[in-house]
Symmetry: D2
Amino acid sequence: MPGNSFGHMFRYVTWGESHGPAIGCVVDGVPPRIPLNESDIQQWLDKRRPGQSRFTTQRKEPDTVKILSGVFEGQTTGTPISMVIENVDVRPKDYAAITDKFRPGHADYTYFKKYGIRDPRGGGRASARETAMRVAAGAIARKILGESVVVRGALVQIGTLPVKRERWDWAAVDQNEFWCPDADTVPEWEAYLDGIRKEGSSAGAVIEVVASGVPPGLGEPVYDKLDADLAKAMMSINAVKGVEIGAGFKSASLRGEDNADEIRMRSGVPEFLSNNAGGILGGISTGQDVVVRFAVKPTSSIVTTQQTVTAGGEDTEISVKGRHDPCVGIRAVPVGEAMLAIVLADHLLRHRAQCG
Amino acid sequence: MPGNSFGHMFRYVTWGESHGPAIGCVVDGVPPRIPLNESDIQQWLDKRRPGQSRFTTQRKEPDTVKILSGVFEGQTTGTPISMVIENVDVRPKDYAAITDKFRPGHADYTYFKKYGIRDPRGGGRASARETAMRVAAGAIARKILGESVVVRGALVQIGTLPVKRERWDWAAVDQNEFWCPDADTVPEWEAYLDGIRKEGSSAGAVIEVVASGVPPGLGEPVYDKLDADLAKAMMSINAVKGVEIGAGFKSASLRGEDNADEIRMRSGVPEFLSNNAGGILGGISTGQDVVVRFAVKPTSSIVTTQQTVTAGGEDTEISVKGRHDPCVGIRAVPVGEAMLAIVLADHLLRHRAQCG
Amino acid sequence: MPGNSFGHMFRYVTWGESHGPAIGCVVDGVPPRIPLNESDIQQWLDKRRPGQSRFTTQRKEPDTVKILSGVFEGQTTGTPISMVIENVDVRPKDYAAITDKFRPGHADYTYFKKYGIRDPRGGGRASARETAMRVAAGAIARKILGESVVVRGALVQIGTLPVKRERWDWAAVDQNEFWCPDADTVPEWEAYLDGIRKEGSSAGAVIEVVASGVPPGLGEPVYDKLDADLAKAMMSINAVKGVEIGAGFKSASLRGEDNADEIRMRSGVPEFLSNNAGGILGGISTGQDVVVRFAVKPTSSIVTTQQTVTAGGEDTEISVKGRHDPCVGIRAVPVGEAMLAIVLADHLLRHRAQCG
Amino acid sequence: MPGNSFGHMFRYVTWGESHGPAIGCVVDGVPPRIPLNESDIQQWLDKRRPGQSRFTTQRKEPDTVKILSGVFEGQTTGTPISMVIENVDVRPKDYAAITDKFRPGHADYTYFKKYGIRDPRGGGRASARETAMRVAAGAIARKILGESVVVRGALVQIGTLPVKRERWDWAAVDQNEFWCPDADTVPEWEAYLDGIRKEGSSAGAVIEVVASGVPPGLGEPVYDKLDADLAKAMMSINAVKGVEIGAGFKSASLRGEDNADEIRMRSGVPEFLSNNAGGILGGISTGQDVVVRFAVKPTSSIVTTQQTVTAGGEDTEISVKGRHDPCVGIRAVPVGEAMLAIVLADHLLRHRAQCG
């Protein structure tokens, strides 16, 4: 299989380059008779949209989505839903100066090695612009999950500065430019990122996405476990270098009795007394919150001069100017949410297929 | 798709329960005319085999693999290769006492919720016994990769004790029971694990697997990126809670210029001056070492008494006796190697399909 | 994807060569809690078993199936079901004389061209022996469909002799060696086939398989239409050269008003007044009988001398002795039934995934 | 998997309804560095385009294709190729009168049963309009196959009138409105179809598509055999009711020695003395012409009044006016060619993956 599709029963393919005429996706397998219109999708795209703060790229894209098929009189019909977003603010000349140089940390080198073609315009498929269509597909996935499942995310670390978990407040997340769940951390991050940007550098980040209300039983052992598919989904996002579930890497240093979540009956139903498992045991959802974290490396496009080589095989140096996010991790929050929703919707349909 | 298969062009399915008559796998898509016999596979199974040290389960399984198809006169024929291992040391009565109780940290609860069936015999499909077939499939994957690609792994942390990376020595790995690359750490781990075991507890671990000699160009953006498929592969291994590539989670706290690997011409070819990328950029291999780490939680089956509930919905307590690894992470090293080899072999064939 | 698997949600892979130690299959995606034991499968294998009449191969295979996984205390568990049949009556020396010659009409030549390997033992994977595992998988598919769906088949033509449709009697099918629905045709076929066999020749056949009680709505337009998947399923059976649905090729010569099945309300539900559609419109089941026919070419292994070449590139002649069916189409009846059941079960689960 | 995709390594998905704003497809897996521009695709669309003769629908669609991604400076880049065609001549009011009635022979009834939604506008996804995108994808498939593989098709029967095979002339095919390879049959078909149309009826057809220059070795036994995938491909085309390879159904009445194609060395290479196999043995291409035929039923939309029922469950009658092809089989010729090219391109890449 070629690699531009994701999911099995809820399955979509994305297409389009960062500086081509448009980007789009086709979502297949959506159950029929689900109310859906463009504004259901636009609201999530607006969250992710670039150019909204000084901490994200200044590229101005309205990111207006159009639905071209699969919806009739406000309802899904069960046929493929094609969505498209025109690229408006395309400036290929920004890239003219670096056409011939491989940007360290970027996919230029590997795309050239793989495909033997150099498409210099803004990273082509490797650009974070592709993630807009993940958000669009994620909006439909949320509709399938319904209102009982709540998927949300937050930024929990920028550079060396994590949030204080004891101050976590979901309500704060929508009230700052960082999706930060800890209002007191916001000014620290602002100062930190302003410094980073002035120095021509960039910062990494850690994102946490959480789904509440997930029914138990989702996940297909032993290879399409819920956590395995989530790991793939998050690692497929641009610049992600690590993924963990629940206690994650910390669980390696816990003792058995501290890690395993004990169970007690509460009001007639089993309840876990902690959630180190991140809502998944044996690759199947437990009914607790599904908790996923992923690390985003610092933006590779920086003004600071770096050593590199040209496609022709000569040593050179590079300083990337363009319009880049000083911390791409910020805009990864809605993307992570979308991928979580997509994996859950896919597994909901798969579970229904086998187990009714 | 149901979930017991892995891979696209190199594709295998595993079957069998921990305490059933046998386990097995069928590998489809193996190129023809590759020399292969049972000892090529047995050597890797012997590495993973339980009952070899006091730090792994005392279950005695010879794990003798038989090839039933797909090989003719010592060569692969291009048709499916069926392999089977008989279960020898099966003691279902070990589980009699706990039939009715959900073991905290185990998949009992979720399998019951998903399938509505309680198969109490040693975890059934959720048992680490399944990983023997991953190792068998991985042995074939290594053959496809050829001798120019070297896949190896090491244990880099047990509980709270990491190895010292400055003392890393691949030669040490095969000379201790832990696959530890740092001989001086071995006695520390022995003492630590003896303590853990006496206290009826268990310990987690971190494993690092590395592939050298990987050609550039492997990986299928934007969803079947090489790192995305590796994340899925590792997270699908029992008890894994986190996966990272190269600098991994640490990259979140690096600055842009410290994270991006600079490039210089060396003897006429581009060479990266560091490997924070873990050998993958934009989801495609760079030609550097592919470096993956994953965290394994502490064994959930412990003697220490824990709170839980019965299938009938009553509060109870549980102390799991059986024959369990105090640190399942140890035996995960050859399994991680196998999954790395499998992902690489699959992507080698996929790349050849599209790019020739 | 390699090619030895079939189905999407009900998915199985087969393995094994005609003259290797065993053949088998692994069925994944079977819903849990379905009563299943080996005799449920054996009864269908017994129908297909060779050596039961003078009109089929004299190879004696008991074809005793063993279930190795996925069933616990007489119920499916939702995990992969592995089934195996040992090859008992293997006589590779029958093939010694023809090792070096390509048998006309056989897959020898193309397997050699594709894989570069010559496995002379009875056709290897290309042997009709593989179809035993289709019948085994089909037995499980029938269980998923339940008793309201009846899948049955009949031989409707041998060589130049079709049955008389006006004498069709399903009860007759099990009362002769040909699965012939028209008792009066049986002696004609016997005489015809005896003649064919004495002359060292062979005969082709046409099989019709029918499923009654299929719910409307099965099929996934526009590529995985129910009829498209049925065409693939039947054409994948050894020696099949044509497939048709309902009126099939005859519909090309019908006029529009004679072909389209009119509809009338009957007891409050729509009823089609004819079934030229073969129970499928737009790739989706209508609720009428699903009717599929397929043509099987005459057995290619014949005693009559034929011109051919050797693997070394020399002209030669060949007369195939061995133990071959004078009409392989006879044993294709239970195989066609199995494939019909498999496609329906797969689509039942797929439909449930998307449409609930 | 949902059903709107086709192929494995060369994989595409189509979207769009007959009377929506546009139709399109996304092709993934195309090898990089293949010269491609819109006119390469447009030339084949022009062949299929409606409104070109009095024997096809009078709907006027320019069918102008736009490429939105995956091509850079006249070359494929290896990333997904998105193509779109706007629907221009949309007249939903043509359907107003029949909104509530199920048209016999159409997919109205089954789509309603499957999805629970009634989209009355011209058949939605079930319309033959979707086949334009098959032709577009097929144009790219031809580019992958290269000039050594020639894929062409002809109409070999309309209604009760077959062509005379002894008069077959490929050069004639492009010189009449029917893709008829026998110039003398053309006036007969004209007269026949004029009569059919005046009587408010319609006619079926048989199409033959042939690929020359196919290398031996393509096809993935035992389920993704080349003929199995071809059968699926053709049967997935609207209104197709039967598919056959080589001698097809006729092979059932041949004797073994008349059916098996004998082999002789010719100029140092094996040559088959006939082609009853249609270029495929054991599901793998032999190197001979691949020959496929399929039957198309008569257009279901006819003026002649038919009995049917309403969605509300009342008996009624229907006479379909609109702008319909009296013989949809005519326009199926380029569609059949496209599907043949697509299957071959997919198998070329798959074969390269496994066998190098």
